[in-house]
């Protein structure tokens, strides 16, 4: 497990080193670009685009965690039970709309810029986290809840010593799905005027330039795969008992 962790760290560092090789990318992408087209996005370096992208994802992911997990917790308590249906349906609706539609829905409220993009990504990424939290917190083995109550745990201790650790695998699985979804969906964020790896993709699509599309798509794919592997690794480290 330790070895896997070190390998992952090396993979992240290697990827960032790769994203910093502006001239290398230009050279490589020139093989797929047609003669009169630019092989690489000129206004921002790839490095800048990657950081913009990661910032977008980070903030929306933080929102997902800060709001999604307590929400799941609230509706699985006895006093929050009446809201279970409401919450579960509302987060579903957030995902029924295509991400571009969600983006444009918030355009009139937040205007162009990162706020609209972050809110839209948050709404889009909320479902898996809430679902994971709900699943984990509502399927605590009954014999263990009974034992916890019987041996004298109060509600708070039952939550921290039993429910949260038992729900952790589901919670992490939910967070992982949300994270991947957000990383991928953030590529449409430039439609409402933010940066990120979607910028060269959209520019490339509108000018029929494969090189630009690849410049955005390859790093996104790489980051998504690495993020997925990292959270999976975390699941293994934190849930050794399963």
């Amino acid at each position: 497990m330790r070895r896997q962790g070190l390998l992952l760290l090396a993979a992240w560092l290697g990827s960032f080193w790769l994203f910093a090789q502006q001239s290398g990318w230009k050279h490589a992408l020139s093989y797929v670009a047609s003669k009169n087209q630019t092989p690489i996005f000129e206004r921002n370096t790839l490095w800048e685009l990657v950081w913009q992208h990661l910032n977008l994802c980070l903030f929306s992911m933080l929102l997902v965690m800060i709001i999604g997990l307590p929400l799941a917790l609230f509706v699985t308590r006895s006093y929050g039970k009446p809201f279970l249906g409401l919450v579960s349906n509302t987060v579903n609706i957030g995902q029924i709309f295509p991400p571009t539609a969600v983006l444009f829905l918030f355009l009139p409220i937040f205007g162009f810029g990162p706020t609209a993009a972050i809110i839209a990504l948050f709404i889009y990424g909320l479902l898996p986290t809430v679902r994971g939290g709900l699943l984990g917190l509502s399927t605590i083995p009954e014999d263990q809840s009974n034992a916890a109550l019987g041996c004298g745990m109060n509600a708070w201790q039952i939550l921290w010593r039993l429910e949260f650790p038992q729900a952790l695998p589901s919670i992490l699985a939910g967070l992982r799905t949300s994270l991947i979804l957000i990383i991928a969906t953030a590529t449409v964020a430039p439609l409402v005027g933010t940066g990120g790896l979607g910028v060269p993709i959209i520019a490339g699509l509108s000018t029929n330039n494969v090189a630009l599309v690849l410049e955005g798509a390859l790093p996104v794919a790489l980051i998504a795969v690495l993020a997925d592997m990292t959270v999976r690794w975390l699941e293994q480290v934190l849930v050794r008992w399963a």
């Binding site: 083995p141 009954e142 014999d143 263990q144 009974n146 034992a147 916890a148 109550l149 019987g150 041996c151 004298g152 745990m153 109060n154 201790q157 010593r161 039993l162 650790p165 038992q166 952790l168 849930v239 050794r240 008992w241 399963a242």
Partner: protein, 305 residues
Amino acid sequence: MIKLEHVVKAYGEQEVLKDISFEIAKGELVVLIGPSGCGKSTLLRLINRMIELSGGRILIKDRDTRTLDPVSLRLGIGYVIQSIGLFSHMTIFENVEVVPSLLQQNKKLRRERARELLDMMGLEPAQYGQRYPKELSGGQQQRVGIARAIAADPEIMLMDEPFSAVDPITREQLQDHFLGLKTQIDKTIVFVTHDVDEAVKLGDRICILNQGLVQQIDSPKALLHKPANDFVASFLGEDRELKRLSRIPVTDVMRSGAHPEARTIEKHKSAKDALNRLLAGENSLNVIDDQNSIIGTVNLQDLQG
């Protein structure tokens, strides 16, 4: 130690327990037994307020349980359940240390105590302590369950069919182990079972419940010999005299003297063992002690209570 006064538990219109009163002395093991649905588990869970009374009251050390905080009440009562309920995300050590850690006892001391208890339950601490529950067999898990219940040294233990989820051989081992343990730990124990043999084997007294009422509460011997009513008689089974004999040592039924031609039986055997030998064709048996000297004699008449 525990006193039940006119205990009533009703779910809606249905009264599961109608009017239960009896007392459990300190250090005593009382078995609650009865057909399924008789309310024996309900009665157990009323004691540590896992469920609340509908009427009457329960006193623990002369204090009404309703006046006590349920969480601190439970911290002082060991609790073992049929489904064991070990925390699957905790190691065996952590499971055993749950109540001491809730009581914020010193970490080093409680680990020491956990080792001691695992050892006492016949589990090598170095081998099992760091494992997770799913890596243990059912019988081993229940041993951990019992260790967890006594870890904080509660005066009272509630055991809800603790041995019924394991195979018969393991169950017998656990019962024997538990009997040995019982003399060491000196606790007041309320034990629920549906197995008459288990009740006879473990109980100081047995409380037979049916239709929400105590049918009879007495020592196993008295109960088996003089059932109070037809229900108790049929519940204990047609072989209740045999069960009674299995509970009493042969030295309790022997007469003084010796029979000149009789074979011998060791003094630690039960009266049932003697009966078995007598039915096999012996007229009398001489009871011998560890030095092989005769201390008494027994024949079929002696066994007729």
